[in-house]
Symmetry: C2
């Protein structure tokens, strides 16, 4: 009972953060960039995120029911905040370098969440592993786009006013 | 010791979400809108948010150390995700109506976090009260801007591409 309530709240947090991925989605600007060979096709992003959201929510709900979960819960909140920020910065502001800073912090946050969870529930930790792998790919993609589009990265358009 | 570690992680989550408030800040578009009489001056926003972030982090850290904190921790994560989303939608996409939907969900999330915290630590619950009041003002501001700028709200500019 408590598990499903926790699952629903954590899933809602994921979907809340995911709103930005839908609103600031790959468009003409992104399509016009040079991209590394391992770039996933556009359709893979929403599909993968939905699977990851379910894993993240299950992991959060499992750990939410255990005592001594403070650090894991705090890192869970940290990673979802940064998760919400990447799309607006990368696709919205078209700021490749700032996107790199945010995806790096997100990567670290996901790693810390996974490690903190693993210590009190290894299944929850394992459920964060696909997420860590995906953010690793996202970070490599961001880095690759930066390397292959130096001029664009150096001159992001002015912020919306 | 654990308290301060938790405090730092929760504060980092707040600052991570707050990045969007700095990047998608009030600009010429916002200044050109008709605003309700109770609109706070621009400088009040970052000042208030910093105070609220500290309150939110202290509340999170206090509850993070207690057992039976699952629901409160899940709602804490939910509200910070939505907190990160409002600025990009309102100031970035200039979408007043979608901003209203998000600030309403945020308001509900903050209320639920406060109530869930209050049940296990009334001081933590109390620390969320100023946040709830501020989000109430923000929601009223969003609603007022909508009412006073019907044409702008009806025709948000196309999303960045």
């Amino acid at each position: 009972m408590t598990f499903w309530l926790l699952f629903c709240i954590f899933l809602a947090a994921c979907l809340g953060a995911g709103v930005t991925g839908g609103l600031f989605a790959p468009g003409p600007w992104y399509r016009g960039l040079n991209k590394p060979w391992f770039t996933p096709p556009d359709w893979a992003f929403p599909v993968t995120w939905m699977v990851l959201y379910v894993c993240m929510a299950v992991a959060g709900a499992r750990v939410g029911m255990l005592s001594g979960n403070g650090i894991a819960m705090a890192f869970w909140a940290f990673q979802i905040a940064l998760n919400a920020v990447w799309s607006p910065v990368f696709f919205g502001l078209k700021n490749i370098r700032l996107g790199m800073a945010i995806v790096s912090a997100l990567w670290l946050g996901v790693l810390c969440t996974m490690l903190a969870m693993w210590q009190i529930d290894w299944i929850a930790g394992l459920l964060f592993l696909p997420y860590l792998i995906w953010v690793t790919i996202a970070a490599a993609l961001n880095a690759g786009v930066w390397r292959l589009n130096m001029d664009v990265a150096r001159n992001p358009p002015p912020a919306p006013s």
